[in-house]
C-alpha cells in the first residue's frame, strides 16, 4: 500500500483527522447493518467544503474510490468503503449555517444531527419533519443520501420533500449548486436525483432544508390490541375514512417486551399483542375531533383499550420507546437484521402473516415494528452473526420476505436504501432497461465510478438475473 495518498490527506485536513491504523479502520468496517463489512483504506474527517474538494481530487488522482459517511447508523451497508476506498467522515461538518424563519429554511452542513436541527429551530416555532428512529444520532447528510423517512412520513413525506437545494462536490472535484432555496427548480430536478442516490453522485457539503411550523396541537394515542392483524385493520379503516394522521405505527409484542426492559421503557402493556401508536396534529378543535374518530376506529377493530398521552412528557416517552425499539432488540441477541420493505396498505394483514410464517419456518426470532400508515414494514430478525447456520437462515428468510413483498406489489426498501444489502435484488423490481437508465444518470455524475462504488446496482458477480443460484448474501463479508 503506497502511503502517498494518506500523506496528502494529512496535509489537507491535519494528521489528527486521518485515521489509518488497523484498529481504527476496523471500527469503520460496518454501519448499522453489522453482517456486511468492508475495511476502508483510510478515514478522513474534513472540517469544511474546501477540504472535501481537496480530498475528492486527491482520491481521484490516485484512482482510489471514496464514500461519504455521516454517523454510520445506516441499515443497508451504504457507508461501507468497498474496494479499499477512503471513508469521508462528515461528522465534523456539523454547523447549522443559517436559519431563516420567514422563508422557513435552514442551511446546514451534512454532519448536523437530525434531532439537533429541530431543537435549534424550535424557538422559531418550527421543526424539521423527517424523523428517522435514529434521529438523535443520524446526520442530515446521511438522510439526504438515503432519502430517509420516519414515523411522520405518512403526513409530511420523506427527506426528498424537505430538501430545497444542495451543494455537491462532484466526483471530479467541481463544486456545484443544485436546486433553489425558493423550492422552485428551473431545469432538471437534480436535487431530486441526488436525494436517495446513496452517495453515488458526489459528496453533499451543504443542504437547504425546508422547515415546518410546529402544529398548534399534537395528540398521541395508543391503541392496545390483542393481535397485530387487528391493529393493521384499524390502520386501513382510518385511512379509508379520510383521516390523515401524522403517524401510524405498530409495535408488536416481542418488541414491546424488549423496549420495556430498557431505558426507553414507556409503560407500554407487555401483555398486548400489539400497540398502534396514532398521532394527530393540527388546529386544536380539529385535533380534538380527530382523537375521537381515532378512538372509534380502534374500538371498531377490537382494541382492548385506547389511551391518550396525558401530557407532553408521556407523549415523548411513547416516541422514545418507539424509536429505541431497534436498539432494544439487542437484548434478545447480539445482532439484529432490520428489514425494510413496502407493501400496499390493504395487504398489510396478509403479508404480516406470511412474514411471521417465514420467520417461524426458518426457526428465527422475528419481530415487527413498522410504519403501518405507509405500509412500510420492518421485520426484525434477531440473530448471532457468529453462528453460520443461523446467518444462512436469516439471509434465506430475508430474501423470501422481499420476494413476498414485491409479489404483493410492493418495493424492496421504504427508507433504508439499497447499499450493499439489496443491490442484487434490484432485478426483482427493475428491468435491465430501467437499471440502464439509472446507470446512465450515475455515469453523467461519476463516469469513472470512484464515488461509492459497489452500491445500489446489481454487481455482475452477484447478479440475480444472470445466475439464479448466486444470492449475493453468500458473499458476506464483502470487500
Amino acid at each position: 500500500m503506497a502511503p502517498a495518498l494518506e500523506d496528502e490527506l494529512r496535509q489537507v485536513v491535519g494528521s489528527s483527522h486521518v485515521l489509518s491504523r488497523p484498529e481504527e479502520l476496523l471500527v469503520y468496517e460496518a454501519d448499522g447493518l453489522t453482517h456486511h463489512s468492508a475495511t476502508p483504506r483510510a478515514v478522513v474527517l474534513p472540517a469544511d467544503k474546501t477540504e472535501v474538494v481537496q480530498i475528492v481530487k486527491r482520491c481521484r488522482a490516485h484512482g482510489v474510490p471514496f464514500v461519504p459517511r455521516g454517523a454510520g447508523t445506516g441499515l443497508s451497508g451504504g457507508a461501507l468503503a468497498l474496494d479499499g476506498g477512503v471513508v469521508i467522515e462528515c461528522a465534523r461538518m456539523n454547523r447549522i449555517l443559517r436559519i431563516d424563519p420567514e422563508d422557513r429554511i435552514a442551511v446546514v452542513q451534512p454532519g448536523v444531527v437530525n434531532a439537533d436541527l429541530s431543537k435549534r429551530v424550535a424557538p422559531h416555532g418550527l421543526f424539521y419533519a423527517p424523523d428517522p428512529s435514529s434521529q438523535q444520532a443520524c446526520t442530515l447528510g446521511g438522510n439526504v443520501a438515503e432519502n430517509s423517512g420516519g414515523p411522520h412520513t405518512l403526513k409530511y413525506g420523506t427527506t426528498t420533500n424537505h430538501v430545497l437545494a444542495l451543494e455537491l462536490v462532484l466526483p471530479d472535484g467541481k463544486l456545484v449548486q443544485l436546486g433553489s432555496a425558493t423550492g422552485m427548480t428551473v431545469g432538471y430536478d437534480l436535487v431530486g436525483a441526488v436525494v436517495g442516490s446513496e452517495g453515488t453522485l458526489g459528496v453533499v457539503t451543504e443542504a437547504t432544508m425546508r422547515l415546518s411550523p410546529i402544529p398548534e396541537r399534537v395528540e398521541t394515542l395508543l391503541g392496545i390490541f390483542g393481535e397485530v392483524v387487528s391493529a393493521c385493520r384499524a390502520v386501513g379503516r382510518m385511512i379509508r375514512s379520510g383521516l390523515v394522521p401524522a403517524a401510524l405505527e405498530i409495535v408488536d409484542r416481542r418488541t414491546i417486551e424488549a423496549v420495556e426492559a430498557s431505558v426507553y421503557a414507556a409503560g407500554l402493556p407487555t401483555d398486548a399483542g400489539a400497540v398502534l401508536i396514532v398521532e394527530v396534529d393540527g388546529p386544536a378543535p380539529a385535533v380534538a375531533r380527530q382523537v375521537e374518530r381515532v378512538r372509534e376506529h380502534c374500538v371498531a377493530e377490537g382494541a382492548d383499550q385506547v389511551q391518550v398521552a396525558r401530557d407532553e412528557a408521556e407523549r415523548q416517552r411513547f416516541w422514545r420507546a418507539r424509536k429505541g425499539a431497534f436498539g432494544a432488540m439487542g437484548r434478545l441477541a447480539p445482532d439484529l437484521y432490520v428489514h425494510d420493505a413496502v407493501v400496499p396498505r390493504r395487504k398489510l394483514p396478509e403479508i404480516l402473516e406470511s412474514i411471521c410464517e417465514i420467520g417461524d419456518r426458518h426457526g428465527l426470532r422475528l419481530s415487527n415494528v413498522f410504519h403501518a400508515g405507509d405500509g412500510n414494514l420492518h421485520p426484525n430478525i434477531s440473530f448471532d452473526r457468529r453462528d453460520a447456520d443461523e446467518m444462512a437462515r436469516v439471509l434465506a428468510a430475508g430474501e423470501e420476505i422481499l420476494r413476498t413483498c414485491v409479489e404483493a406489489g410492493g418495493v424492496i426498501s421504504g427508507e433504508h436504501g439499497i447499499g450493499t444489502e439489496k443491490r442484487d435484488f434490484m432485478g426483482l423490481l427493475y428491468s435491465e432497461a430501467d437499471l440502464e437508465a439509472m446507470k446512465k444518470l450515475r455515469a453523467a455524475f461519476d463516469p469513472t465510478l470512484v464515488c461509492n462504488p459497489g452500491k445500489l446496482f446489481p454487481t455482475t458477480r452477484f447478479c440475480v438475473e444472470a445466475n439464479p443460484k448466486a444470492r449475493g448474501y453468500d458473499q458476506v463479508p464483502l470487500g
Binding site: P22, E23, E24, V43, G72, A137, V263, A325, G330
Partner: protein, 426 residues
C-alpha cells in the same frame, strides 16, 4: 493488515466479549458521547470503543497503543448507558479494558507511574493525605505555589488551576462519630465520608451530617471506612480498588448488621456509584452495603423534607454529576430539593447531564480533551448567568470552580446539600 493472535491476549479479555455482544450497533449512544462530539471519530464513540473491545476479545486486533489510547480518552461518564436501549454495561466494560491495558504494561510512562503511586500510597492513606493537604495549605499560604509555577512545565498550571484553596483547619477536623437525631426521630443512617471529601470538602460532609440530624436522623460515621476505590479502578488498578472496597465492606458491616440503619448516605456521586455497584466487584458479600447506598439528595427526597425552609433568593444552575445521573439514575431528586427552597430559582442550561470533563483524574491525564469538554459546559452555564452552580461530586466541584473562575463567571460553586443546609439553618 496486522492481526494479532487470540492466544496472545490476556485471559481476562475473554470475559469482555460477552459484554460487548450486548451492542447491536444502533448508534443511539453517539451524540451522547462527549469525546465523539468533540472529535467526530467513531473510534472515540461508545459504539466504536465497544467494537474495539470486541475486536481485541476476538483476536482481530492486538491490545496495543490504539486501544489503550481510546480506553484512556474515554471520560467514563457513562452517558452512553442512559442512552443505550440494548443495556450495554459500558462502565463495566471500560473498567475491564483499562485493567487489561494496565496489565499488558501499556501504561508505563512516568505520568502513569506517578498517578499510580499517588492513588495507591497517598489518596487512600488518611493520615498521609491529611499531612499532604496540610503541607499544601502552607504552600498556598506562603504563595510558594505561584513561585513553583514559574519553574515547572506549563502542564502543572492546569493542575494548579484545578486545586481549590485548602479549607481552614477548622473544616478539616474529623467529624464526630455520631450526630443525634433532632426533633421527632425519623431513623438512623450511616455517613460515608470518602477520602478527599474530609480534606477538601469538609464543609460538605459537615453540612450533610447536620442536615440529616436536623431532619430527625441519627447519623453514625463508622470508623475504619476509607477511599472507595473509584479513582484506582478508573485508572486500571482494579485489584487494588477491590481491596479498598473490601475494607469498606468490613468497616460498615457493624453499622449495617441487624438492619440498624436505614441507609448508607453518600454525598460524592463518584463514591456512591462504586458503592452501589459493589457486588459487581465483590459478589454477594457486598450486597448488604450496596443495597443500602443512597445519595444524600436522593435520600432526603425519598423521606421528604421537614420544614421550615427559609428563603434563598438565588438563581441556581444544577449540573448533574455523571456518576449520579448516568450511573445511579438520580436526576430529579436534587432538583426537587432545591426547588423546595423558597426564592430559589433553578435556571436551566443546555445539556446539564453532559460531562464537565473532570471525570476523576481525567482532567490531569487528558488535559486537552478535558478542556474541550469543560469549554462546552462553561458556554452553557455562562449563558444563564447563575448566582450558584450546584453539583454533587468533589471532582465536578473542583472542575466547575476552576472553569467558573477562568471565565470570570462570579458564580459560587456548591454542593446542593450546602444550599439546603443554609436554608434550614436560618
Amino acid at each position: 493488515m496486522a492481526m494479532s493472535d487470540a492466544q496472545g491476549s490476556p485471559p481476562q479479555l475473554a470475559e469482555l466479549e460477552l459484554g460487548t455482544l450486548d451492542c447491536v450497533h444502533c448508534g443511539l449512544c453517539l451524540s451522547h458521547c462527549p469525546t465523539y462530539r468533540v472529535t467526530g471519530r467513531e473510534t472515540s464513540s461508545p459504539r466504536g470503543r465497544v467494537y474495539l473491545m470486541r475486536g481485541v476479545a476476538e483476536g482481530r486486533i492486538p491490545l496495543g497503543a490504539a486501544v489503550a489510547e481510546e480506553a484512556s480518552l474515554c471520560l467514563g461518564c457513562r452517558a452512553c448507558e442512559t442512552a443505550c436501549p440494548s443495556g450495554v454495561q459500558f462502565g463495566s466494560l471500560l473498567e475491564q479494558t483499562r485493567a487489561a491495558v494496565s496489565d499488558a504494561g501499556l501504561r508505563s510512562g512516568l505520568a502513569a507511574r506517578l498517578e499510580r503511586l499517588a492513588l495507591r500510597q497517598l489518596v487512600p492513606r488518611g493520615l498521609r493525605l491529611h499531612v499532604f493537604v496540610a503541607a499544601l495549605a502552607w504552600v498556598q499560604r506562603l504563595r510558594l505555589d505561584r513561585l513553583a509555577l514559574l519553574l515547572l512545565p506549563p502542564r502543572f498550571r492546569e493542575i494548579h488551576a484545578l486545586l481549590p484553596p485548602v479549607p481552614p483547619v477548622s473544616q478539616r477536623r474529623p467529624l464526630p462519630r455520631s450526630f443525634p437525631a433532632r426533633g421527632e426521630p425519623r431513623g438512623r443512617v450511616a455517613l460515608f465520608e470518602g477520602c478527599l471529601m474530609p480534606e477538601l470538602f469538609g464543609a460538605v460532609n459537615r453540612a450533610t451530617a447536620e442536615v440529616l440530624s436536623q431532619q430527625g436522623f441519627e447519623v453514625v460515621v463508622p470508623a475504619g471506612q476509607g477511599c472507595c476505590g473509584a479513582l484506582q479502578a478508573h485508572s486500571g488498578d482494579l485489584e487494588f480498588a477491590k481491596g479498598l472496597a473490601r475494607s469498606n465492606v468490613a468497616a460498615l458491616a457493624p453499622a449495617i448488621e441487624g438492619d440498624a440503619i436505614d441507609a448508607v448516605v453518600v454525598n460524592s456521586a463518584g463514591c456512591g456509584a462504586v458503592l452501589r455497584e459493589l457486588d459487581h466487584w465483590l459478589g454477594d458479600e457486598a450486597l448488604p452495603l450496596a443495597g443500602r447506598v443512597r445519595d444524600v439528595c436522593e435520600f432526603l427526597d425519598e423521606v421528604g423534607l421537614r420544614g421550615p425552609l427559609e428563603p434563598l433568593p438565588l438563581r441556581v444552575a444544577y449540573d448533574d454529576p455523571c456518576h449520579l445521573v448516568h450511573a445511579q439514575g438520580v436526576q430529579e431528586a436534587p432538583r426537587r430539593l432545591l426547588e423546595a427552597i423558597p426564592g430559589l430559582e433553578i435556571v436551566s442550561h443546555e445539556d446539564p447531564s453532559a460531562c464537565c470533563g473532570a471525570a476523576g483524574t481525567y482532567n490531569l491525564t487528558q488535559p486537552e480533551m478535558s478542556r474541550a469538554v469543560l469549554t462546552a459546559k462553561m458556554d452553557a452555564l455562562a449563558s444563564v448567568a447563575p448566582d450558584v452552580i450546584a453539583s454533587g461530586n468533589p471532582g465536578c466541584l473542583m472542575q466547575l470552580r476552576a472553569g467558573a473562575a477562568e471565565r470570570g463567571l462570579g458564580a459560587r460553586v456548591l454542593h446542593p446539600i450546602q444550599l439546603l443546609a443554609q436554608s434550614l439553618a436560618r
